[in-house]
Symmetry: C2
Subunit: 773 residues, 2 copies
């Protein structure tokens, strides 16, 4: 764990420049607005180590699958997140020398991500080989208000010379994707133009045919006065630029303001992208940079009103949680039900695809509590719209009659992952997608979703489970063979308890949902039955038979659920006995050794106990936690949060705090030495869960919000906002008690430590009970 960045409650700050840490910093300082985003690359040239990254949401390329050995059922393509045109570029020449921090002497350097107002600021002074010093400040952001736009204010001043400075703002679409299977470039040029102070490049993705126009418009001031632009236009393949030569004087600043737009054919007619982008640029340029920045701050202020978590007395923890919330909001705003939350968001291109079960298991709870309910609903609708492809995917694997297997990784609904042990076997993802429907209805009370969309998905998923189990004549029970659970350090196991449990839960919930929908709207139910040829009696009978006769792996002696058949045959060593030199296992051990060991990558049985806690008494949960946690290496970023929540539930606030620390500063401190590729966006929602469901002890049951708070010894107080069915609450947990502020005009009932309270509209209530620690 490094502590490279300065601790600050609202900012991430880099003081001084460490080229070896640049790619990590580029990830951490990433910007986004849900529609577009980028890594914190420099505007000027940089010949040192960097991963250039500009991304436009929803635009992807189906890269031809590459494997060592083909297995029947593998998808032909893997949808890759596309590196798009670079719109931030401003080439800077000081006389005959190019400004490049890898070649200059960097005298001072500071980079700052202002999370409160949503912008990135960079200041540096540098000296060229010939000794010319310059001072530079750049501020830029991806606008939350004009969400196809970004803006940069780039100011340069000579420190010790007078002479020519050349500024060349450009758009460069001739970029490579680091994550390309066959080293292809993914974009073709459609058109481009360059004028004195504006220009654009329009590109089209190969195969998928998405078009994106990336346009710029700029103005320059010198010593505070506008400069009329006499530029030299430059065109190359997929590239336009305008070169402007200026006579710089000591003590006088030159400021280039660059406005940029990324318009995609997903949202506009392809033929109009160029002209529309010119319109958009005219509009934002007329607003001006300062107005845009003020609007950005206001938009973020509104976000924080619903999102913020305040941790008093622990600035590092405070910075950590805000960073996570900030990045989640940059990645996904919920405006567009075609988009989803990629594992790297707009901070890198690794892994490809944009949608994993992370969305349902980790992100939905975050957006349910911190955003309008349509945001979580859009995440659900995304899967609803892809149901047809999930049915196709199941067909490819030999299932039939409308059974659906949602993909492990996807962009448009087709599977694009290709490791048999994951792609074909990690089928519990289907369960998480069903659980998210349950969770949404539980949280919002919006049962119409079941009628209109949810039930169709639930039946298709249950049909899959009904075909996926098989009858064991030996046991006289149904079994679930050949699966990989959430713990990916086991492959092709039989009767993974988590998978069997969530499968049976799906069947039960589907039967329940059928009842609800029939009651609510028999006509719509009849329509659905006809649409999907649902043989209710026969199929539900099969579901019920499986529910009644499913085998669940367990160990009666220990009183625990067994992760899978045969788990107790393993050598029962513990994580504490592993030498530090052998960790992380995934880097130090061969794969077969990992598979044979007891060691667990991430919550598996415990993931099930987290989802279905109401079905188990606290002693059962404790026995399983006490057994599995010491065997868990937490080598997935999704692991510590579930453990934090369970530790908190079991009253172990100190363990919960340790898990929280591990997850909240994962990227800021580059905990796993992999933040250079991008941040772990989806696990950031897990961090939020660790705070709100862990320390806050928040649950929803029978339509009522309840809290069972705990406070780590290290914290003075913890407060967070929760939106629930149109009401906004602020919960503050301190040693004095739990303060509940109702910020809405509606009263509501909540439970604190099991006791019911009526919280008046616009009231503040201190509840003193039970906070012992």
């Amino acid at each position: 764990m490094k502590q490279y960045f300065k601790v600050d409650e609202w900012k991430i700050i880099e003081e001084g420049f460490d080229p070896h840490y640049n790619k990590v910093a580029e990830s951490v300082f990433s910007l986004g607005n849900g529609r577009m985003g980028q890594r914190a690359n420099f505007e000027e040239a940089y010949s040192g180590e960097t991963l250039q990254g500009n991304y436009v949401a929803g635009v992807y390329y189906p890269d031809k699958t590459r494997v060592g050995w083909w297995k029947n059922g593998y998808p032909e393509y893997f949808a890759k997140v596309l590196n798009a045109a670079n719109w931030i570029g401003i080439d800077v020449w000081i006389g005959e020398e190019q400004l490049d921090l890898a070649k200059c002497e960097v005298l001072s350097f500071r980079r700052e991500l202002n999370m409160k107002e949503g912008y990135l600021k960079r200041n540096f002074t540098a000296k060229t080989d010939s000794g010319k010093g310059v001072e530079v400040e750049s501020i830029r952001f991806c606008s939350m208000v004009d969400d196809e736009c970004g803006a940069i204010k780039y100011t340069i001043a000579p420190l010790n010379f007078e002479g020519e400075i050349t500024l060349t703002p450009f758009i460069d679409g001739d970029i490579v994707n680091k994550d390309s299977n066959y080293d292809e470039k993914f974009w073709d040029e459609v058109s481009k133009a360059i004028d004195a102070d504006n220009g654009y490049v329009q590109l089209r993705t190969k195969k998928t045919g998405f078009e994106v126009a990336t346009a710029m418009k700029f103005s320059i001031e010198q010593d505070g006065k506008p400069v009329s632009i006499h530029s030299n236009p430059i065109q190359k393949e997929k590239y336009i630029a305008a070169e402007v030569k200026l006579q710089a004087k000591q003590g006088q600043c030159i400021t280039l303001t660059k406005y940029a737009a990324n318009l995609s054919s997903q949202n506009h007619p392809a033929a109009e992208l160029a002209s529309l982008s010119a319109d958009v640029l005219t509009l934002i340029a007329s607003k001006g940079f300062d107005t845009m920045l003020a609007e950005q701050a206001a938009a973020w202020s509104e976000k924080w009103k619903h999102n913020d978590i305040i941790i008093e007395g622990d600035a590092a923890a405070q910075q950590g949680i805000r960073f996570n919330i900030f990045q989640l909001n940059q990645t996904y705003t919920g405006e567009d039900d075609r988009l989803n939350i990629g594992p790297k968001g707009f901070t890198g291109e690794k892994y490809g695809g944009s949608t994993y079960w992370d969305t349902e298991a980790y992100c939905v709870p975050f957006y349910l509590a911190t955003a309008d309910q349509k945001v979580a609903r859009n995440l659900l609708l995304y899967r609803y719209k892809q149901l047809g492809k999930a049915i196709d995917n199941a067909k490819l694997l030999g299932f039939k009659d409308g059974a659906a297997l949602y993909p492990m990784v996807t962009m448009d609904g087709t599977e694009c992952h290709n490791e048999w042990e994951i792609t074909f076997e990690e089928i519990h993802r289907n369960g998480a997608i069903a659980f998210a429907i349950f969770n949404y209805v539980r949280y919002t009370g919006d049962e119409t979703y079941l009628t209109d969309y949810g039930l169709e998905v639930l039946i298709a998923i249950s049909r899959f489970w009904a075909q996926r189990v098989n009858w064991s004549a030996e046991r006289q029970q149904y079994v679930m063979l050949g699966v990989t659970g959430p713990n990916e350090y086991e492959n092709n196991v039989n009767n993974n308890w988590y998978t069997s449990t969530i499968a049976v839960w799906c069947l039960k919930y589907t039967i329940q949902a059928i009842g609800k929908v029939k009651e609510a709207n028999q006509a719509k139910y009849n329509d659905l039955v006809a649409k999907i040829t649902f043989k209710e009696e026969q199929e539900c009978e099969k579901f019920a038979d499986i529910i009644g006769k499913m085998y669940f792996a367990h160990d009666d002696k220990l009183g625990i659920f067994l992760q899978q058949d045969g788990y107790m045959d393993k050598e029962q060593t513990l994580v504490k006995d592993l030498p530090a030199t052998e960790r992380p296992l995934v880097q130090k051990w061969s794969w077969d050794r990992i598979l044979r060991s007891v060691f667990i990558k991430q919550a598996d049985v415990l993931q099930g106990l987290y989802f279905f806690e109401d079905n188990y008494d606290i002693d059962t949960i404790r026995r399983n936690y006490d057994f599995y946690e010491p065997r868990t290496v937490h080598e997935s970023s999704l692991s510590p949060c579930v453990h934090a929540i369970l530790a908190a539930k079991l009253g172990d606030v100190e363990r919960a705090y340790q898990f929280y620390l591990r997850t909240s500063r994962l990227d800021i401190d580059d905990y796993n030495n992999d933040t250079d590729d991008g941040c772990h966006i989806t696990s950031m929602a897990g961090t939020w869960m660790a705070v709100v469901e862990g320390f806050g002890g928040m649950r929803v049951k029978d339509g009522t919000l309840s809290f069972n708070p705990l406070l780590p010894a290290e914290w003075g107080a913890l407060s967070f906002q929760i939106g629930f069915r149109g009401i906004l609450l602020n919960i503050r947990i301190s040693r004095e008690g739990v303060t509940v502020k109702n910020l809405s005009d509606t009263e509501m009932n909540i439970k604190i430590y099991g006791t019911d309270y009526l919280i008046d509209a616009n009231s503040e209530n201190l509840i003193k009970s039970k906070l012992a620690n």
Copy 2:
């Protein structure tokens, strides 16, 4: 199953030309002499579908591994069989038209592989676009006597014209490997030269630096008279040729005799390859083609004396078995202990590597009985020499203290396969390598091999097993987790019975061998102990503990051994219930579905019962056979032979015959639609086993050869040669009885149907007992 080729007892015959079948024919008609080999490509140009293939034994290229997802422990490289310079090429122009059977009208076509004398002959008449007809005959072979050489006699005669015919014999080293991970060419040019009637190209492999000089020398006769050569020399990159223009007359033959040599730096100094190849060519050219061909026939006659199997009354079966024996002898002669038996031999480049466990499990028995014992010994020494790399390979996976895991696929001892479920888990290969040592000693009686080499390998393998098992506190037994058995339609299973059984057998045999070696040569034993730091007492105690406390999966109710834990949880369907449209499963079912099914790719429990039959009573073998065979899809070419042997043992001659048919004509009839890639060389040894161990019922026990013959109803008689400890026997099984001819000057004891017989030197004995069918 096709019947494309004509049935003939000594030949494979293709009548008429079917371009769609050309690649299969190229495989089936392949030539080889253990040192070099080639597919049956045409001498003249062919623009139709073809897989060009010339191979030089022992020359390989380590192609950089290509996988979708890297797993720790994967090898960096995969040694590929290299397509080498094309030495057969003779470009033919008739006036301005190139002779190319894909473009001409083929009037007649006949290709014939003469297995008795070891050559390939092709006759055709064809007509060009302009209507010029030619008649061509080509005869070629890879010399068994001059094993770095091949020769071609190519005769062309005009049918209906007089005019210019241009013949351009060439050597072309600018070839591609079909099986290349990154579409690289694997050879660089070292040097070349071309003269009027001879020339060479010397090439060097990238990375491995093997050099091969491929040289040619030719002469031409017209109308039976030598033509003095006035040629036009041609040179291109990695290519040399000599163009000769001739005035052809109707009714006059032009004959080009091309001698070629492939000399490798494995056998000669690289700097001398060019001059040595010139010497070799001078030598063979002075012998002349007809003498060489006569020597070839004599060499094959000698092979057949020891190898031949005669099946009376069933020409298709006769052709099948001779084809298998012929290809095995073409692939490996046992002269060189650096070589081994690749799965495609010299008939294709698929799969890479040259050595699989096929060698030990299938090929060693064949060579033991049909060749000098040094041949099998060389196969064993090959592994002995690679022991160091097997220890390195085990280290890579986390094993220590001299434990060895032999590679799944290799060329030089390093692992070059990369699927975790095979590479890391199919560890039973270690057992087959130990078993081959046992088998060699059992057959030959040569116990010095144990002292000099065998024990060192056995201890290293036993050390692996001792570390690979783990103690199950639950069972209070040792278990073997995370393996893939011979049945590769199961991955990552626990307690595969075959693997556990052969592991424990290895430990037992190692302890036994230690005793023998100590008794035979204590000094050498002490040297070994010192060399490998063997702690006899402690390590043997561990071995014995595992032997005593190993868990073997079994089902007491059914009285069978269980292929692995949980096998009875599967849906117990049978192969007979599978629709034909769903087979072969590997092409029709997704991988996960295959894994979850009961269906077995190849003998697994039954492979163990075959190896260790003496440890089980016949009822146990029958119960397991009756249980597993109906679940076996035989989608490996290695499967039917073991089943044939067991069926014969159980007295079911009809089933044995069905299995035999399936294996013996696998390639001739392109049974699995995959012979276009090359023939299944190693399974051909299995076919031999099916005859000799199956119908012949041959076994060796306590130093005595025994037979328990059976005769399929379809056969009149079956006879085969067996070499045993210096004695050559001919065994003929007919309805009259078993005739044993001792072709040696030494008497010997054998057992027929359990009764001992003394077979006099140079005698023929008819034993009438028991042959009921």
